[in-house]
Amino acid sequence: MDPLAKLTLPPPFEEALSRHEREIMRFLLRMTRDRDDALDLFQETWLRAYRAYPQLDSEQGLRPWLYRIATNLCRNRARDNSRRARVISNGDGPGDGDHRLASAAGGGGQEDTLHLRRAIAGLPHKQGQALVLRKFAGLEYEEIGVALDCSAESARASVYQALKKLKAMR
């Protein structure tokens, strides 16, 4: 039989939403460490997901796609925040955005997580993102590749490099 004859209908958007809302919210809370921001980005992520849903081939493609959107929104927000911070402090001090990314490394603000956050913030951007998606969101390398717009191999290499650097600091 022609493989195209096996074409099936995708699940309704609501089903995708209820299947993934929890992990996306968890991811955003972790990334932003700010409940209001997390709620805003959650809504924006799903509105964009709704708009793009017709173009997504399958439900399997949805999850990394969601993380990609959520990651980009977090990055934009971090950039906006750091720009705002720079304006206020007139260019002094470290970029707040890096802390935002590093803040993804969860925990309750104890010393060790603070160290870890700083360490992740010191990593090159892509390595830090890949590490967070792998370790804290639990994505497969293929999914990280989709989220960061690179190959699975490149995603694996980024996580490897990030871990190597963190270990060197230990």
């Binding site: 022609d2 709620l39 600091m169």
Partner: protein, 276 residues
Amino acid sequence: MLEDRMWMREMLDDDGPLGMDGAPGEAAVGAALRAVRTRLARALGRVRRPLARAGVIDSPVGRLLVAESAHGLLAVRFLDSPDAPGALTALRERFDLVEDTRAAARIRREIERYLDGDMHALDRPVDLSLVRSGFQRRALMRLRRAVPPGSVITYQALAAAVGAPSGQRAIGNTMASNPVPLYVPCHRVIRSDNTIGNYGGGVARKIRLLRAEGFSLSRDHRLPAGSVMGHLGTHIFCRPRCPAAMRANRAKTVIFADSGRARGAGLRACKLCRPV
């Protein structure tokens, strides 16, 4: 210096994802979800696409993707055609699909009844909102209204009928992109040399459909010798070479498989050429 805590060691030494240690509490996640759900539902409601019921059916003419809106039948796509995935995407861009096996089964039964000879089985309303231009919509509606089962029309005559006498090319494209084949009978549009021409679902299907409607096609896919020209304005039908038929307005001329079909459609025989 990173302290060598348990979970940090796990993170640095293990390849897999971390446990839940670093995560926000599940209660916090749940509360955040509850706080945002209503707001998200309202925002989604503002950009919502209309609903369409859809399904995949195994019909006598092959596996089909079918969909209907509140206004009528939206799509019938042959799944073995190379543009089936694109057609599904186009459908999803305009409508939110809900799988509905009962609605799909109704459509399957209609097609079965039709191929068994019930020529009114496909008379339900169609929704042509997937059709891009007004010209294409007009052509498809005209075809559906004016060319009954047991008759065919040429690309040229259909073009003339929608006010574009030299638009047979555009008519060809319109038929090729017809979202509701069978129900909008693009298989009833043929070439001016009386050969049946192409079909989006493959020529074999076009032959099958035309045979089901009473045409006995020759081996080179031409119309049968006994076919007659019917004029939808005067309601008279003629032999193909009748001088009256030659003079008649092409835009109102269709071709019937035989005199019986023409009479069945309410036409009378020409007194000049006396078709039998």
